[in-house]
């Protein structure tokens, strides 16, 4: 007997809004969080814009003790903590507990520790001053740093796992949390992901020539998924968090319910049949989407909205084709589809969780957020699906089921099916 799983809390640190009220306002109104970065000009990057949250470091004192804050350097950890603790509070739970929450676990993902913070470590070691590093480096360098800070602050006592699957990390974390509850291993899972694109990671993407470089003077127009003039993605940073609960457990404590997770799938195209380290095997993508539908016991016609991966690279057209093939829907019959990346850029490991927060909000408040910078949709896309499927303004509409997918380097895929709670 498997359990139904619902979303009871949300938290977000996004380039276009920190905290759910600001983020909700931004996505309803198509507000961009992409800004010009003077530092990237100094560094001779080709792309000089980014989605960087207006994060006030001092406000971390609202989340952790001053002893913990002293010595905290990892920006990804800070983002993850803020989003996760906001989601926890939003679900109606207290931060303080003496007994661990044995029924609650955590799956929180990320890509890499804050390399800028780690640079200071490297310099000290190279200067033969390793003795001066202190006690706080290891916990922030380890991949499980973010989950350790979150679970330690909240006293989470069930499975605590750090996942990493490049750009599919966030939706995969939510899927894993969902599976633990569904199979009865936990009553509640705090799920999500965090990413801080520091200058070193940014530079490495810049060198791959996959970033937007023609809109440095117009940062808000730089992220253009599905547009004919899309010329690469805009790196973004932040974190998203969702509290998932066993439905009966949530009902028993009168928790607010935003939406239900119906199912999902995570797979890999095996870097075969056209799939590579950086490109998706379409067969793998289509299988992932179709398996998500099967696990959710819905048919292809029931999807009202797709929250795409859609990064604003030449992979967008292929992604639309894969969705169309997976759902056997084209033209006017295709669901509405949007890309949050048009407003916040591509938050890599955090993309899936921030976009899932947006998807849940669209279900809870019955709207579809706009695609911005889509005044010139790619004809190869509109030859397959109707231009009416690509909203450029917010739409108020009945939204019952949303498919949320992300695809990452390594040819990894994750697809979640989210539904209105009935």
């Amino acid at each position: 007997m498997t359990k139904r799983v619902v979303v009871t809390g949300l938290g977000v640190v996004s380039p276009n809004g920190i905290g759910i009220p600001a983020f909700l306002h931004a996505i309803k109104n198509g507000i961009s969080g992409i800004k010009f970065m003077p530092r990237y000009e100094e560094l001779n990057f080709s792309c000089r814009v980014a989605g960087m949250p207006d994060f006030e470091w001092e406000k971390l004192i609202n989340y952790i003790s001053e002893v913990t804050l002293h010595g905290l350097k990892g920006t990804n950890i800070a983002y993850g903590l803020a989003a996760a603790l906001d989601a926890w509070a939003d679900s109606g739970m207290d931060y303080e507990t003496d007994e661990p929450h044995w029924e609650t676990g955590c799956v929180f993902g990320n890509s890499i520790a804050d390399t800028e913070a780690m640079k200071n470590v490297i310099i000290r070691v190279d200067n033969k001053e390793a003795k001066k590093l202190g006690s706080r480096v290891v916990e922030q360098a380890m991949n499980s740093g973010v989950t350790s800070y979150i679970s330690g602050r909240l006293g989470l006592g069930n499975k605590v796992i750090t996942n990493s699957a490049a750009c599919a990390t966030g939706s995969q974390a939510i899927l894993m949390g969902y599976e633990y509850i569904k199979h009865g291993y936990a009553k509640r899972m705090l799920t999500g992901s965090a990413e801080h694109v520091d200058t070193y990671v940014y530079g490495a993407f810049d060198s791959m020539r996959v970033l937007s470089r023609k809109f440095n003077d117009h940062p808000e127009q730089a992220s253009r998924p599905m547009s004919l003039t899309a010329g690469g993605f805009v790196p973004g940073s932040g974190a998203g968090a969702l509290v998932l609960e066993d439905l009966d457990f949530a009902l028993a404590r009168n928790a607010k319910i935003y939406a239900e997770v119906l199912g999902g799938s995570s797979n890999s195209g095996g870097q075969r049949q056209g799939g590579t380290m950086t490109a998706a095997n379409s067969t793998g993508v289509i299988r992932c989407i179709q398996e998500a539908l099967v696990s959710s016991r819905i048919n292809t016609g029931q999807i009202d909205l797709i929250s795409g991966h859609l990064t604003a690279t030449n992979a967008d057209n292929k992604e639309i084709q894969n969705w169309s093939d997976a759902l056997s829907r084209t033209g006017d019959d295709f669901p509405l589809i949007n890309s949050l990346k048009s407003m916040i850029g591509h938050c890599l490991s955090a993309a899936g969780s921030i976009e899932s927060v947006a998807a849940v909000l669209q279900i809870a408040q019955q709207f579809v957020h706009p695609n911005i910078n889509l005044e010139d949709p790619d004809p190869e896309i509109t030859n397959r699906i109707s231009v009416d499927c690509l909203p450029v303004n917010m739409i108020k509409k009945e939204i019952n089921i949303v498919a949320k997918a992300n695809f990452g380097f390594g040819d990894v895929n994750s697809c979640l099916i989210l539904s209105k709670y009935n």
Binding site: E66, V67, H70, G71, K131, K132, G134, S135
Partner: protein, 89 residues
């Protein structure tokens, strides 16, 4: 540098690592860093590094092991300062 002067300076060194600010103001030689000030044992390393930087001294492993309460911290710091042949008395 007198014991009292070192004690007053040590309060600033300990401050980032304890949430018990009231007790910090009234520490004496017998105050235990872990038991009384509730300092995380891992943070003792950070306190030693901060003290090294503050007094421009080097606290070796054997000396660090002695730094359990405020009095032994002052002893170690005074000893290391004296080893530098600096006149602090």
């Amino acid at each position: 540098m007198t014991r009292t002067e070192i004690l007053n300076e040590l309060k600033k060194v300990f401050a980032p690592y304890t949430t018990n600010k009231e007790l910090l103001n009234s520490i004496n030689d017998d105050t235990d860093l872990i038991r009384d000030l509730k300092i995380n044992s891992a943070n003792l390393v950070d306190i030693i590094i901060d003290a090294e930087n503050k007094y421009n001294i080097e606290i070796d492993f054997d000396a660090a092991d002695k730094m359990i309460n405020v009095g032994s911290c002052i002893d170690v710091i005074r000893e290391k300062l004296n080893q530098k042949n600096v006149e602090y008395r």
